[in-house]
Symmetry: C2
DNA sequence: AAAACAGGTTTGCACTGCAAACTTGTTCTT
DNA sequence: AAGAACAAGTTTGCAGTGCAAACCTGTTTT
């Protein structure tokens, strides 16, 4: 398939900036709690919560709610497929950029 | 600003997959006509049209309509700022990926 | 006991991307 | 010459999305 067709089909779940940030951060720390992710990304609580729900529904992350002493704690970590997905997504973007740099338009008839 | 905050603030006009494909293609060919872009990206005519309108309104592309013989021809090319913007966008993504790979979570207090 | 706070979730709305329907003009077909 | 098919886009309608603000539930402070 052509580079540009591939580009239009990028996974929107992962491509959305807030979720790209969340997933990328999680890929680099075994797990994180809600508050940590919030300060890291600068997202509002509501916004973060809904993105996490979406990622959980898609099987990208695990969300574990527990108590640390008396205060509730929500811990988020990547699932195996989530880790694969975010790594693959960045790799694709990276390759697209490289390939795009070398692309030269061909005559219309060959496209 | 933190890497992940920057990520959540990626320019959505350019980040959207279809427009990323359009802009990246245009950055590599001085100009393209509507039909060529359509077959290149695989977008429907309606969809392509609305993305182009959005890019034009944002000053990213020039759209010039003329006639080639009797058939109308719509020619699209990047504006100066459009070219700067798409190059900068890819560069940012590229740097983000690199930086993210080396990021190590710090203690919460230092974030 | 009441106010403030921590840690999230739910709701409401404005905006978006997409497909389908429409438009305008041209070229075949008979 | 009438009409069917086609080319090249544009507009419309709708389902889905991201975001902020309101809300909720329990805890700590005053």
């Amino acid at each position: 398939m052509s580079l540009f067709k591939e580009m239009t089909e990028l996974d929107k779940l992962l491509h959305e900036p807030a979720r790209l940030a969340i997933m990328t951060a999680l890929a680099n720390c075994e797990s994180a709690d809600f508050t940590f992710l919030q300060s890291l990304t600068g997202l509002s609580k509501g916004n973060l919560s809904s993105h996490l729900t979406k990622l959980e529904e898609a099987g990208m992350v695990f969300i574990i709610k527990s108590f640390v002493g008396k205060i509730p704690n929500t811990n988020i970590s990547l699932s195996g497929s989530g880790e694969d997905a975010i790594n693959a997504h960045w790799k694709r973007l990276d390759e697209m950029r490289k390939e795009a740099k070398t692309w030269k338009p061909e005559t219309e008839s060959t496209v």
